[in-house]
């Protein structure tokens, strides 16, 4: 009897300890990150939305239930994965190898010997030596790409493959449903799209971004151990095959998913908690690279446009003249002996293709073919070194300022009073260019106010304010544009507005000075109850980039308003900004029926 009681006590103690170990494991960072659990407004929930990813009915919200059910499935081999979703079926160990590894390494389980054909093939084809975080710079022609994009590059160990194998890339991408325009934006903002992890050869991404969309790529090789890389390969198999999530443009987007994936592989890396409400690709690069021990190297992949501009800059005057002659549609190129000229022409026509949906037509295509043939006939030019295209350091996103800016200042509109400002994102034309596209402004959730005798007053709120300047040249007929949505109380009268405009930008002195005209139309809503009005504006301005942190901006506009019998009114604006070490001093003078001046000191913050 005593021995029976003793056995029951020991057994209960062992079961209790086992339960405690299971519970502890289910609450640990490694399990939470492997299953992508996060604390949200509605409580703990996995980012993964697909039911097939979980064994427990409550698995997406209950880590212990999911760990218990996953463990049972991995131990017994049942249920086969995918069965309930009508998918091809797989043993749980083969379907979720990272999870099986967790059971073995953390809970001490012995795994059943199972032959996993597909997984074995996956591992054989992806023996990686390292991973890289890749940032693609902004693409101004697609609203979904204004903030850039991040994905991971899988660097294949060429010594471990029997056949030549390219590097691969994994990205988290939305699967659109065919909606366009406003509905596309609305559905992207509200999580109506699903996002999936996609694996493609890296050369596909290079062509897509660097060649077709003219986006520079920055690659940061991550400092990961061989074991961490193995875990990545296993977890990637799980995600590519079984995971989808709701895609939200601003937070649960490509960049956040990449951070979440890295945390699943390296639970010690605390990345997603630094992301903030709006997750920007720039910001995620800074989150990862902030700790320099995480990075081995940074490499730039210049876009077609960057390479073309570099090639142009390297031509002397006589070659520039030859280039213009070569680019005439029916020019005879058989007597051209300059490789740089022909290569500049080749890049020019490739750029033309990106503007014409990938195809040249008729005489342009024939002429392009003749240029290619002539260049090939010229052969290797031995006396000249191979051209190199170095992005330099200035566009690296990890060196850019934080997206958030807060400022204090002084306003004088006849009487001096304090002013304040707060901008949630992202980059103004007058901010330090380093780490950003030089001619692209994206401001959102930007308010400025002042304090009069009794209380603070909102002077202006910009929900979004985007300006894209693309310098025009004889070889590049760039289109510049702007969009703004907001509300202003100064200048009076108060009104809300939506404005859009487009025009021309000329770059002078090596693009250090931009002179632009962006005529625009603005739908203006004055006070409630009053009729909506339409404003048409001419808009001429100049941006002088004295240095990356020193800018001068001057603008003059004449506006004709429908609710004022189209009488014209002048606006003038001049601003001077000096930025250094995440700070900025700005002085501005404005005229709109009266003068007002503004002096401010601002600080850039990380925004997380």
């Amino acid at each position: 009897m005593r021995s029976l009681i003793f056995s029951i006590v020991i057994l209960t103690s062992l079961v209790g300890r086992a339960d405690a170990a299971l519970f502890d494991a289910s609450q640990g960072a490694r399990w939470h990150r492997l299953m992508h659990y996060e604390h949200r407004l509605r409580g703990l929930r996995s980012l993964i939305a697909s039911e097939v990813f979980f064994f427990a009915p409550t698995g997406s919200t209950d880590p212990l239930a999911e760990l218990t059910a996953s463990r049972r499935a991995i131990q017994t081999g049942l249920p086969l994965v995918g069965q309930e979703a009508g998918l091809a079926q797989m043993d749980p160990i083969c379907a979720f190898p990272a999870r099986a590894r967790f059971m073995h390494e953390v809970l001490g389980d012995t795994l059943r010997p199972v032959v996993c054909e597909g997984l074995t093939y996956w591992r054989t084809r992806l023996p990686l030596r390292s991973l890289s975080l890749v940032f693609a710079s902004a693409y101004a022609n697609n609203p979904a790409s204004l903030f850039g994009h991040t994905f991971l590059k899988l660097n294949v160990d060429k010594d471990k493959v029997a056949n030549p194998t390219p590097d691969y890339a994994v990205s988290f991408s939305a699967v659109p449903d065919g909606s366009k325009g406003f509905m596309y934006m609305y559905r992207g903002l509200t999580g109506a799209f699903f996002g999936v992890y996609l694996l493609n050869p890296f050369y596909e991404k290079l062509t897509e971004y660097a060649e077709n969309e003219n986006r520079d790529l920055w690659e940061y090789e991550l400092n990961l151990s061989a074991d961490q890389i193995d875990r990545f390969v296993e977890h990637l198999w799980e995600l590519v095959n079984y995971a989808n999530s709701r895609y939200y443009f601003f937070d649960d987007n490509c960049s956040y998913a990449i951070l979440s994936l890295l945390e699943a592989v390296v639970p010690d890396w605390d990345l997603t908690s630094q992301a903030g409400w709006v997750v920007l690709p720039h910001q995620t690069v800074r989150i990862v690279t902030r700790d320099h021990t995480k990075i081995r190297a940074a490499i730039g992949h210049p876009s077609l446009r960057s390479r073309f501009e570099t090639t142009l800059a390297q031509l002397d005057l006589s070659d520039e003249t030859r280039l213009r002659r070569v680019l005439v549609a029916d020019a005879d190129v058989s007597d051209v002996h300059s490789a740089p000229v022909l290569e500049a022409a080749i890049k020019y026509y490739n750029l033309r293709k990106t503007e014409k949906s990938g195809k040249l037509r008729g005489t342009e295509q024939n002429h392009y073919q003749r240029i290619l043939e002539r260049r090939a006939d010229l052969g290797i030019v031995r006396q000249a070194p191979l051209p190199t295209f170095d992005l330099g350091r200035t566009t690296r996103p990890d060196i850019g300022h934080g997206p958030v800016k807060v400022s204090l200042g002084l306003i004088n509109d006849g009487a001096p009073h304090p002013g304040f400002g707060a901008r949630y994102g992202f980059h103004d034309l007058l901010d330090d260019d380093r780490g950003f596209e030089p001619n692209l402004q994206i401001n959102y959730l930007d308010l400025q106010g002042s304090a009069n005798a009794s209380h603070p007053v909102l002077d202006r709120f910009r929900a979004v304010d985007i300006v894209s300047l693309r310098p025009w040249s004889a070889l590049d007929s760039g289109f510049s544009w702007k969009v703004a949505i907001g509300h202003t109380n100064r200048p009076e009268p108060a009104h809300s507005y939506i404005e859009a405009g487009g025009g021309l930008d000329l770059g002078l002195f090596g693009n250090r000075v931009q002179v632009f005209t962006l005529p625009s139309a603005c739908v203006r809503q004055p006070k409630e109850g009053e009729r909506t009005a339409l404003d048409l504006s001419s808009d001429v301005g100049m941006l002088w980039r004295i240095g990356p942190g020193d800018k001068v901006f001057v603008r003059t506009a004449r506006t004709w308003a429908s609710d004022h019998s189209w009488q014209g009114r002048w606006h003038q604006e001049a601003r001077l900004a000096h930025s250094w070490a995440d700070q900025q001093i700005q002085v501005s003078a404005n005229w709109d029926r009266r003068w007002w001046f503004h002096l401010s000191w601002g600080v850039f913050l990380a925004g997380s």
């Binding site: 998918l87 597909g118 996956w122 030549p164 194998t165 694996l199 050869p201 490739n350």
Partner: protein
């Protein structure tokens, strides 16, 4: 809606019958699950990134070895064809110029590595490579012939 989907499927099938024939997977993975439709339309939509639809995206993309292996690792025997299909314009430019990332990656698929000699050999044979009829398969076959017959590249390229 189903009729439109069927029309799209038929069109895709007719225009790319040879390519789709290689797609032996039964379709799995949550991107398929999202559409609850094991169709070729799902297959093409699955690859949209940032609103950009990649051309002939599932060209030789499956392993063909087992179920639920619908992922985008290119079959070994299709790597060269896939590379040319995706990067034809860039590769053609690089071959004409005798240097560049794309010709280096292409010659690496033949086991040549990032070789200036291999790029120069292809450049000298540019007109042969891009003679009519054009097409990824033709370019690959001609490149294979040129590389294998080149004395300069003897012993330097494996495949």
């Amino acid at each position: 809606m189903k009729r439109i989907g069927l029309w799209l499927v038929l069109c895709l099938g007719l225009t790319a019958a040879n390519l789709w024939a290689a797609d032996g997977s039964s379709g799995c993975g949550p991107a398929w699950y999202v559409f609850k439709d094991n169709s070729l339309v799902s297959s093409s939509l699955r690859t949209i990134t940032n609103g950009f639809l990649a051309p002939t995206v599932t060209f030789g993309m499956t392993t063909g070895t087992s179920n639920c292996t619908k992922h985008s690792i290119v079959l070994i025997e299709q790597q060269k064809n896939h590379y040319v299909a995706v990067n034809n314009d860039q590769l053609q430019s690089d071959i004409a110029q005798g240097h560049g990332v794309y010709v280096d990656q292409f010659t690496a698929l033949f086991g040549c590595g990032a070789s200036e000699t291999a790029a120069a050999v292809l450049q000298r044979n540019y007109r042969t490579l891009y003679a009519q009829p054009e097409g990824p398969q033709a370019v690959v076959n001609r490149a294979q012939l040129i590389i294998s017959r080149s004395e300069e590249l003897a012993g330097q390229c494996a495949a």
